[in-house]
């Protein structure tokens, strides 16, 4: 069933329909929020706030964009709001730390799948929030630039620049893991 059917049901007071929406989008929203806040407990709070806000503001969703984009925009805004409020010192990867570039074939072939998952998420944690977010938005759910503009509110140019920088930094981080034989 299409999201719009569930949205109509929720607006008519059917709370079970909202459970379906939570179930459908919670993991992806959580992944995006984790990209920004880097802490699973803070991410849980942000996701909860996101869904509660989505529930209360659902009547304002006009269907001009995809429901997922609308929901992810709330999640991303909430996450950045929390990040700015907390002013917590996250340890982000600094470009000057590393020089070498990974041989991408080596990485995908030689590294065990489970370790890959773990270290990919660790590497994403080390990236700056915007870089980590852009990689997940672009590659994980394969949003196009227009969708990403809707979700983040960033310009076309800044998205392309961020994407380029994020790819570069991600490769450098993976290279460090790879060379240190962490896996």
């Amino acid at each position: 069933m299409d999201d719009s059917v569930y949205i109509k049901k929720i607006l008519n007071g059917d709370n079970d329909a909202f459970r379906f929406i939570i179930n459908k989008y919670k993991d992806m929203a959580y992944s995006f929020v984790m990209s920004i806040v880097k802490d699973e407990f803070i991410a849980q709070d942000v996701i909860q706030t996101t869904f509660i806000r989505a529930y209360t503001k659902l009547h304002t969703f006009k269907g001009n964009s995809k429901f997922s984009s609308w929901l992810y925009r709330i999640a991303v805004n909430e996450a950045f709001k929390v990040l700015n409020r907390r002013k917590k010192e996250f340890v982000f990867y600094e470009e000057s730390d590393l020089e070498t570039i990974i041989d991408i074939d080596d990485f995908t072939i030689k590294v065990n799948e489970e370790y890959q998952k773990h270290f990919i998420n660790e590497a994403l944690k080390k990236l700056k929030p915007k870089e980590s977010l852009i990689l997940r938005l672009f590659y994980l759910e394969e949003h196009n630039i227009k969708d990403i503009m809707e979700i983040t509110g960033w310009t076309n140019t800044s998205i392309k620049v961020l994407l380029h920088r994020a790819r570069l930094n991600m490769k450098k981080i993976l290279e460090v893991y790879y060379n240190n034989k962490t896996f």
Partner: protein, 115 residues
């Protein structure tokens, strides 16, 4: 997109596809639904209940004033004698007050239970 970019694109598509996280809390939906109930639905009902109480009090006051006014009318009222019209109105008014009071008490009890 040149060859290098294609290679890069495939590489990132491959690795980032493995970065999807799962919410690590099994009761996540229940927690949200419970929060929606306590933070959104109950306060909303409580607000509506306050409006109901306000209009109930205003209606009761208006009913009492109309009863008094009807008791003072000496001319026939819609073909009814003033006394009969006054009695009919008072019966209707008392019935309404009692039924609405009962509904109101039930609502308050339910609201306290939900809290």
């Amino acid at each position: 997109m040149n060859e290098l970019n294609n290679k890069d694109h495939e590489f990132f598509k491959n690795i980032i596809s493995k970065s999807k996280l799962e919410v690590p809390f099994s009761d996540f939906e229940d927690v949200i639904m419970s929060k929606i109930n306590t933070q959104v639905l109950v306060p909303k009902t409580s607000r509506e209940l306050k409006f109901s109480l306000l209009f109930f009090v205003l209606g009761t006051i208006a009913g009492i004033l109309i009863s008094v006014a009807l008791a003072n009318i000496e001319d026939a009222f819609f073909g009814l004698s003033p006394k009969l019209a006054s009695v009919l109105f008072q019966v209707l008014f008392v019935t309404l007050v009692f039924t609405q009071t009962e509904t109101f008490i039930k609502l308050v009890k339910n609201l306290k239970l939900n809290k």
